[in-house]
Amino acid sequence: MSENSSVRIGLGPDPIQIDGHVNFLRGAEGGAIDIFLGTTRRRTNGKETVLLSYEAASELAVAELSRLIEETRSRWPVLRTVVFHRTGPVSVSEISVFIGVATPHRSDAFEACRYLIDELKKRIPIWKQETFADGTTDWVEGTTPDID
């Protein structure tokens, strides 16, 4: 985990502790907190998923998340940010990712939160493998990070 007074970043196998993250996001200057939670869906393209398993290039992922959060803070007046992503197995309906931002006003919170999850999915080195009810597994087709 990487944390300072305004940014908390984490990757790891433990279940997401929502209350602790919300407490970190709350503060007197803030007027809005927007939170996105990603959860494991049971059905994808007609196939039944029993769990997702996540793998990360951890050091690079934390460094890229730091850069993404700085970029977000340069575009919206974000007071505090939390990005936590699970690694390892995440069963159906469990939370795989927590994104939270605190801002003075709600429209910025919605936009900054959406930007973080959209960009995380495009460029942070994390991979998702589906395990289906019939026992087969498949790496989810992903997105090539745009670095140029």
């Binding site: 996540y54 992503h85 995380l120 495009k122 080195p125 790496w139 090539t144 670095i147």
Partner: protein, 81 residues
């Protein structure tokens, strides 16, 4: 010279390696490293257009010149969230 190469996700499955040493010519760049990997694992060719290279802390261009002992991660298309 030798480069330390790390594989993730579907590339680890294809190569059956987490990390290995790869011999490449002096002044090899990122594209040259990918070619060396394809020489050893022809199945990697289908992924080649979609791969990124990275150090422990940042993505690097395929034009970047590699140095002896560099640790390079091969990043297939990402799918977090």
């Amino acid at each position: 010279m030798f480069i330390i190469v790390r594989y993730y996700a579907m590339l680890r499955d294809v190569t059956d390696q987490n990390v290995e040493e790869m011999e490449v010519p002096q002044n090899c760049n990122g594209s040259g490293l990918i070619e060396a990997i394809i020489d050893r694992y022809p199945e990697v060719a289908e992924f080649a257009p979609y791969l990124r290279l990275a150090t422990d802390t940042e993505y690097i261009s395929r034009d970047a010149i590699l140095t002896e002992g560099s640790e390079i991660s091969i990043i297939p298309p990402v799918s977090g969230g």
